[in-house]
């Protein structure tokens, strides 16, 4: 099975609120002291792919569209035992819209070659648009399934090749799907990304990693560099939220919890 996993490198979403700054002119976050990490849902997608390969065999190519620093995300994926890595270097707008990203990824995927499965995170921890998977499926002209957390190869069926488990608002669904297919992946207790071995991390820096420019993909590179024509961010601000927390009072723990219970019941009775 040929699997392509798309990875996005983002500003560490776990930085504390007090360290988070934005550049209102650029309408983007300022990196400051924050590190760059692979978007967690992309890592969930890679982990799901690695588990699928363990059972079904095949090859995993990791693909990123981003700044040169996104090579770090790809190296980490190689250390987690992805087979091949491709970076499409973004030398334009730092925040291209999701359609521009989907067009770049689609063009890169066509250049990589035939695939059975393209996997992406359900959304990113920075802009969280949640659209790249769906738009990419349309660009590639294949079906897609969202919020997947596990994939099995179905046996004994000719045209329905995969059984996917995916999360819904109230539980889960099992989906039978033919390939080629695009899936977006969400988190689950079974796809927590593995930690690569130190030795594999060192080895990953010796592995080949293809770097492509926008100009060699046969797309309108100028439009992508401009950020795309799908949507634009016209304002970015940090909301001011002032809530004063009253800590419960009392001399003993019993008194404090008594006060806590009273406050809780005051709220629920007023509903």
């Amino acid at each position: 099975m040929n699997i392509i996993v798309c990875l996005k490198q983002i500003l560490d979403p776990l930085i504390p609120v007090r360290d988070f700054r934005i550049d209102p002119e650029l309408r983007a976050a300022v990196q400051g002291s924050a590190s760059l990490v692979t978007n967690i849902f992309c890592e969930n997608a890679l982990e799901t792919a690695l588990q699928l390969r363990e059972r079904a065999g095949g090859k995993i190519t990791v693909l990123a569209f981003g700044a040169p620093s996104a090579e770090d995300s790809l190296r980490k994926a190689l250390a987690m035992k992805a087979d091949d890595a491709v970076l499409v270097v973004n030398d334009g707008n730092v925040h291209p819209d999701p359609m521009a990203v989907a067009r770049v990824l689609a063009a890169a995927i066509r250049k990589i070659g035939a695939f059975d499965l393209v996997m992406l995170g359900r959304e990113s921890g920075d802009w969280g648009a949640g659209q790249t998977g769906g738009l990419l499926a349309e660009e590639l002209g294949v079906a897609s399934v969202s919020f997947v957390d596990a994939i099995e190869v179905a046996d004994g069926e000719s045209h329905l090749k995969l059984h996917l488990k995916r999360q819904t608002d109230t539980g889960w669904e099992r989906v039978a799907a033919p390939t080629p297919l695009v899936v977006t992946v969400t988190n689950d207790e079974h796809n927590v990304p593995r930690i690569p071995k130190t030795r594999d991390v060192m080895m990953s820096y010796r592995q080949p990693l293809a770097k492509w420019t926008l100009d060699e993909l046969g797309i309108d590179a100028a439009a992508v560099r401009a950020g795309g024509d799908y949507y634009r961010v016209v304002d970015l601000s940090i909301p001011v939220r002032e809530t004063k927390c009253e800590l419960v009072s009392g001399d003993s723990l019993e008194d404090k919890v008594s006060d806590l219970a009273a406050r809780i019941l005051q709220v629920t009775r007023a509903m």
Binding site: Q131, E138, S144, W172, L181, R232, V234, D235
Partner: protein, 323 residues
């Protein structure tokens, strides 16, 4: 070309989310000077039909048997056909999993632009703009959609319901769609996890546990507290990832966006991603051992103490004080 379509899945509602979606559609259509078309997708739902007719100018019922149970490709094909019949300026959906799955693909097929998780809509010089939380709730962006139609999935509970009008003013039409040829993935099994009495999104009281619980067992104790105050259980992403709680309990940026009257956060640190899921809660209360936990910057009241000591006493106190 100034009309607004709102797609409602008949399996849900009418509830606060459908009211919010209808309210958002009414406001947007009034700003654009267009009509509201409420499209009910799936098996017929009389209550939802009445609620829609009280707000929309036209109610369209797409109850083709092929749409009775959600199948992604068939539903997408139907939404594309219906959208092309109406040629709206904007298309609104909820932020349920199905709507999120369909919206970007719908926008692509219609040559439009999509954005999601919107908490506010505006029209600026004919352009549709959506306000939405970004960076895990640390910032708020305004997105201007450059192509038409604008396809927006909404954090529907953030929108005010519209004033109900005389439902007899709305036209009600059944729509025929042709989705027979839609192949592709098929949902072959559906499972509903125990979610308590109602959906988490509609819960009035929520008791939620986080990483600090240290294991799955404490959720049983939290369940007893919840039942004393008519609440439902929820969890942070950390607790769900650890397998202590099912994924359908997850609250946060990528879990459920809840809007209860009371949200009791137990051993939840309060990362912005979690707070993004509870920004519509009326009252937030916290039990946490760490006085510097960010949750204390967002709650109305709380206690700095080990939950292991608090919960048994709280159970006793709630039971006693309720009398």
């Amino acid at each position: 070309m100034s009309d607004v379509v709102v797609f409602l899945f008949s399996s849900s509602g009418p509830d606060r989310a459908t009211e919010g979606a209808l309210g958002a559609a009414r406001n947007l259509a009034d700003s654009l000077g267009g009509r509201v078309h409420a499209v009910l997708v799936g098996a017929s739902n009389e209550a939802l039909m009445r609620a829609s007719a009280a707000v929309a100018d036209a109610v369209l019922i797409a109850d083709d048997p092929a749409l009775a149970e959600y199948q992604p490709e068939a539903c997408l094909a139907a939404l594309v056909q219906i959208s092309r019949m109406i040629s709206p300026r904007a298309i609104l959906l909820g932020n349920d999993a199905y709507s999120q799955e369909l919206a970007p693909r719908l926008a692509h097929r219609l040559g439009g632009s999509a954005t999601g998780d919107a908490v506010e809509l505006a029209v600026d010089d004919g352009r549709i703009r959506a306000r939405r939380p970004v960076y895990g709730g640390k910032a708020v962006a305004v997105i201007e959609l450059l192509q038409s139609p604008a396809v927006v999935w909404l954090r529907a509970r953030a929108f005010a319901p519209a004033e109900a009008r005389d439902p007899s003013g709305a036209t009600v039409t059944r729509l025929a769609v042709d989705v027979a040829s839609a192949g592709g993935p098929r949902i072959i099994e559906r499972a509903v996890e125990d979610a308590g009495e109602s959906r988490l999104e509609d819960a009035r009281v929520i008791v939620s546990g986080g990483r600090g619980l240290g294991g799955p067992e404490p959720f049983r104790d939290l369940g007893e507290v919840a039942s004393l105050i008519g609440g439902q259980l929820a969890a942070s992403r950390a607790a769900c990832d650890a397998g202590w709680a099912p994924p359908s309990w997850q609250v946060g940026q990528t879990g459920k966006k809840v809007a209860p009257g009371l949200y009791l956060a137990v051993a939840i640190h309060g990362a912005s991603q979690h707070l993004a899921g509870i920004s519509d809660a009326k009252v937030i209360a916290a039990i946490n051992i760490d006085p510097d936990a960010p949750i204390f910057k967002h709650c109305s009241f709380g206690i700095v103490e080990d939950y292991r000591k608090v919960i048994p006493l709280l159970r006793t106190q709630l039971a006693a004080q309720k009398k």
